[in-house]
């Protein structure tokens, strides 16, 4: 598997209250990778480190086969970035912003930029500072897409946008990815949004990577079990026990990852009985995963 983004042991501590610790991310080439985490988990900091906007204090970063931050010029020429907060000059018009961006990107596709501008209904003479939040989001996406990147890094690109604009923006991304086989790294705390479009997911909490797996595994593998006569220790289990707690009169409630139907027999083999298996939706799975991660320190 070729990786578009790879970090090993990435460390960054801007102050005393927050630190990215030993972060190892693996974003496969051509994947739409959802970078999930609650607010303040370190998603934006991680993306800024990946793009060379911040300098890591330890570890290595490779983007599109290049070492970062050393080779940032080549990497940024092949990467489209939509930051969390608008970063464009509010005094320029939409057309001037496009002109400025085009001047720095050799692969700028002017025809497609115009098509996107019409599709997004952005007036060329409108001042960036006078655009609505949705229009600003569309403009930032337009700039990132029209430079024809191999990698799109989107930091909460739809946060605060209305459903119509959100759909417009995500459709444009999906259309681009399907045509150009680009890799997308998209951060969000909106689990359901990523569920629809991502094929890989990484979960970050308090600066540490909690999990990284294909979306299918994430969606299907996390279950809540009700277990009677549960053993105190569980050696050699074919699944990962994330949390367990007593439920009076029933037994124990377990949260497990990597569950498959045939695994009931394993539990029966250690004297336990599974009385119920509950599918968790992605958001529940995400919440439970974070909860178990925090409980385990």
């Amino acid at each position: 598997m070729t990786l578009a983004v790879e970090t090993q042991g990435l460390r960054y501590q801007p102050g005393k209250s927050f630190a990215l610790a030993d972060l190892s991310l693996h974003v496969p080439e051509g994947a739409i990778y959802g970078f999930l985490g609650p607010n303040g988990a370190g998603k934006t900091t991680t993306l800024r480190l990946l793009l060379g906007l911040l300098r890591p204090q330890g570890g290595t970063i490779r983007i599109l086969g290049r070492a970062m931050p050393g080779e940032y010029v080549d990497v940024l020429a092949r990467t489209g970035y939509v930051p969390e907060r608008p970063h464009l000059d509010p005094t320029l018009s939409v057309a001037e912003s496009m002109e400025l961006h085009a001047a720095f990107h050799r692969r700028w596709d002017a025809a497609w930029a115009t098509t996107l501008q019409q599709q997004f209904r952005l007036r060329g003479d409108a001042r960036v500072g006078a655009l609505s939040k949705g229009e600003t989001g569309k403009l930032m996406m337009l700039l990132a897409l029209a430079q024809q990147p191999e990698l799109l890094v989107l930091d909460e690109p739809t946060d605060g946008l209305d459903p119509v604009v959100r759909r417009d923006v995500l459709e444009a991304v999906l259309e681009y990815v399907s045509e150009r086989r680009a890799t997308v790294l998209i951060s969000s705390h909106l689990v359901h949004e990523l569920e629809r479009i991502c094929d890989w997911v990484g979960v970050l909490d308090r600066g540490r990577l909690v999990a990284e797996m294909p979306m299918e595994d994430f969606k299907n593998g996390i279950k809540r079990l009700l277990v009677r006569d549960a053993p105190s220790a569980l050696d050699g289990a074919p699944f990962t026990l994330l949390t367990r707690k007593d439920v009076p009169g029933v037994g124990e409630q377990w949260l497990v990852r990597g569950w498959a139907p045939g695994m009931r027999e394993f539990l029966e083999g250690v004297g336990a009985t599974v009385t119920d298996v509950v599918d968790l939706d992605l958001e529940d799975g995400f919440v439970e995963m974070l909860r178990s991660f925090r409980d385990n320190g």
Binding site: Y72, L76, R85, L100, A103
Partner: protein, 214 residues
């Protein structure tokens, strides 16, 4: 690339530049008008010299405003846009610097034109000569020095700015302490001479700014 950077710089600084053009054109005219009725060459020179500080002031303010406008947009966006561009950072800074320098040219030309007009269309008192080119070059240099200083200061981190302010504070405290101890060291005097007297960094602003002199 430079054309677009220049276009944005012009958009941000045009009011300051246009005001600079008007000011730079007006100062030689006003200085001559204030001196034309002088009864002697000495009085003529004194009257001209009264306007001398205006050149340095204008150059300093012009440099400050153009330098501030060079970074204001990047500041607003917390530098994220500039840092995400595929260009070496030193090159980006040079482009911004170059665009700012180009914006200083119109006021310099305005001052040069005005100075040439004044000295070539009026009879000068006996024994006095016009120095329009020298004055224009000096004005250009002063504007460039001011722009470069403020450009560096406004692009610096708050830590660097704090270090400079800290150094100034240390010098002032040292002056007060040596003074109160009865030591005639004159630290600020030395620093002032080092900075403002030729060949000091800011010496271009001090001394006589004369369009017409002996």
């Amino acid at each position: 690339m430079f054309r677009m950077i220049l276009k944005t710089q012009w958009k941000w600084a045009r009011i300051a530049v246009l005001a600079g053009v008007v000011g730079a054109f007006a100062v030689p005219m006003f200085s001559f008008a204030s001196a034309r009725d002088a009864v002697s060459p000495r009085a003529f020179i004194d009257a001209m010299q009264g306007w001398g500080a205006a050149y340095g002031f204008l150059a300093g303010v012009l440099g400050l405003l153009v330098a501030m406008s060079a970074w204001s947009s990047d500041y607003r966006g917390r530098h994220v846009y500039a840092l995400s561009l595929p260009i070496e950072r030193w090159r980006y800074v040079l482009l911004r610097f170059g665009a700012g320098v180009v914006c200083l040219i119109p006021p310099v030309i305005a001052l040069g034109v005005s100075a040439v007009l004044v000295t070539s269309t009026h009879a000068l008192p006996d024994g006095l000569h016009g120095y329009p080119v020298a004055l224009t070059i000096r004005f250009a240099l002063a504007a460039l020095v001011a722009f470069a200083l403020f450009f560096a200061a406004s692009s610096a981190t708050s830590r660097a700015a704090a270090a400079v302010l800290g150094l100034i504070a240390v010098l002032v405290v040292a002056e007060i302490l040596t003074d109160s101890a009865g030591l005639d060291v004159g630290i600020l005097d030395h620093v002032g001479r080092f900075v403002f007297v030729s060949p000091g960094l800011l010496s271009v602003f001090t001394g006589r700014w004369m369009l017409i002199d002996v």
